[in-house]
């Protein structure tokens, strides 16, 4: 059974409809890339998937033993976070908060989990460092480690590489690819980077005036791909 099925979804704020008639599903191990122009509703879709806003119509069904609080999330950086005095360790550990329930403090198991995920993201040597002193790429790794603390199954990434230089971007993509291929964690990623979307994704969801959902191969055959072609010199595989 699919991990996430969206049927006939209508999204928006208050009564203003941003997107409607959306149908797609994510199976275990999929890498779904959501692409589309600015303002087409990608971030609204992500927030709806996370349960931060309610869909106006349609249903989101979670399957395959996935619970709503087991979705990891890498947000776009917010204003507050940029000068937040927190150590890397504190931030990664906060990813385990959902497991604590009403328990006030972290147990040994959660601390191990945080340590494991820091090692996975290769940031163990940064763990005492202050978050605001790190480079953009390092900060994204910290937030990725935090997201991995929250999930074993599905990761949602909201423009993970925006503002990063090409080298760091490539490294981050490789990390994400590794998590997806070798650890079987499904990925839903919003991206402006069509070249990367085509390169790494297994499925593509295009949102805009027309909607498209299908495998990468189907997408490359479609009219949308022709109109919305990569512009950044990436080479579609």
């Amino acid at each position: 059974m699919a991990q996430l099925i969206c049927q006939n979804l209508t999204l928006g704020y208050d009564a203003k409809i941003v997107l409607s008639g959306l149908n797609f599903s994510v199976n275990k191990g999929d890498f779904l890339c959501i692409i589309g122009e600015n303002g087409s509703g990608k971030t609204t879709l992500m927030k709806t998937l996370l349960g931060l806003i309610q869909p106006l119509d349609g249903t989101i069904t979670l399957g395959d033993d996935l619970r709503a609080n087991e979705i990891g999330y890498l947000p776009q950086q917010t204003f507050v976070q940029r000068d937040f005095p927190a150590s890397v360790e504190e931030i990664v550990l906060s990813g385990c908060q959902g497991r604590c329930g009403l328990r006030p403090f972290y147990a040994k198991e959660e601390k191990q989990r945080a340590a494991h995920n820091m090692a996975r993201m290769d940031i163990t040597d940064l763990k005492k460092r202050c978050y605001r002193e790190l480079s953009g790429g390092q900060q994204q790794r910290v937030l990725l480690a935090r997201a991995l603390c929250a999930t074993q199954k599905l990761l949602l990434l909201d423009e993970p590489v925006s503002g990063l230089d090409p080298k760091v971007t490539l490294e981050l993509y490789h990390l994400i690819e590794h998590i997806n291929r070798h650890e079987g964690i499904s990925i839903i990623m919003i991206s402006h980077d069509i070249a990367a979307a085509v390169k790494y994704a297994s499925h593509i969801l295009y949102v805009g005036k027309t909607l498209f959902f299908g495998t990468k191969a189907d997408y490359l055959q479609s009219d949308i791909a022709a109109r919305f072609a990569p512009t950044e010199g990436g080479e579609p595989v």
Binding site: P75, V80, S87, E89, G98, P104, R146, A150
Partner: protein
């Protein structure tokens, strides 16, 4: 110098000085640990806004002739705090605008009521006392002290128990929500304890200077410390030291308590900024 210490030792024997010190230390401790969260959530001005609300509520209580003001002031302030903090980041009126609006309205209406229905000889004296704290911290009764001790213990306990959750919702509210933390409830609790602290702190520095107790220790600590835990601890220690020092100076030099404490806080901020700058320049 010895003469100075002798006078100090002399004063310290009086119960009113002891009371002032106990209350001062507790209130500055509570307000500074919460201050870290408030500053980071961009709610620095909530202290100011809520204290004006408390001032307005106090005026209403005085006009209505309620003997125990706390019965009106505390609930009204808590409700306003909840309204301000829990509208969240998507509200139509952004945090700063709604705080500013609430703050001036409460101040205006409170002052208006005090003038329309004066129940003591000097209206301006009353107003000055509530706004600047005046000497009321030196005239605390035993009941006041016990009330303050109890409420402070509750606030500190709640803070320690919710520490990790407060960190999570301060750093990233959306993420905390998606991982199943009940952000709404914790914001509510946070708002309530902030309101309690502010009502308590009005005794100490008065409603105009409360912001100082909330933001200065946190900001000073952030100049120097690099993680959330050390910022919180440093801010608490600093605030306790500054307030004790402020109270002692004000007794020795017979200056107003509230403004002396704030002056010490400002000096500490200057020192910490300097230290922070030297460190990062290294």
């Amino acid at each position: 110098m010895t003469a100075l210490f002798d006078t100090l030792a002399d004063y310290l024997r009086y119960p009113f000085v002891q009371h002032a010190l106990i209350v001062g230390v507790l209130i500055s401790l509570c307000s500074s640990i919460l201050g870290v969260t408030l500053v980071l959530k961009r709610f620095s001005f909530i202290g100011d806004g809520l204290s004006h609300v408390a001032f307005g509520a106090m005026a209403i209580a005085a006009v209505a002739g309620v003997t125990n003001e706390m019965l009106i002031v505390l609930p009204v302030t808590i409700i306003c705090a909840i309204l301000l903090l829990c509208t969240g980041q998507n509200a139509r009126l952004k945090g700063d605008a709604s705080i500013a609006m609430l703050s001036v309205s409460a101040l205006a209406i409170g002052y208006l009521l005090m003038n329309l229905f004066p129940n003591s000889g000097s209206v301006s004296g009353d107003v000055c006392t509530t706004l600047f704290g005046a000497t009321s911290i030196l005239t605390l009764t035993k009941t006041d002290v016990w009330l303050c001790v109890t409420l402070s213990i509750i606030v500190i306990l709640v803070f320690v128990l919710l520490y990790n959750k407060i960190f999570a919702i301060t750093f990233d509210e959306s993420f905390a929500k998606t991982t199943g933390t009940r952000v709404g409830i914790y914001n509510l609790i946070l708002a309530a304890i902030i309101a309690v602290i502010i009502v308590l702190a009005m005794n100490l520095v008065g409603s105009l200077l409360i912001s100082a107790l909330v933001i200065f220790p946190a900001l000073s600590a952030m100049r120097v410390c690099r993680n959330f835990k050390s910022v919180t601890i440093c801010s608490a220690c600093l605030s306790v030291c500054c307030s004790s020092l402020g109270i002692l100076i004000s007794i020795l030099a017979s200056t107003p308590v509230g403004s002396t404490i704030v002056a010490v806080d400002i000096a500490a901020f200057a020192v910490f900024s300097l230290v922070g700058r030297c460190r990062s320049g290294r």
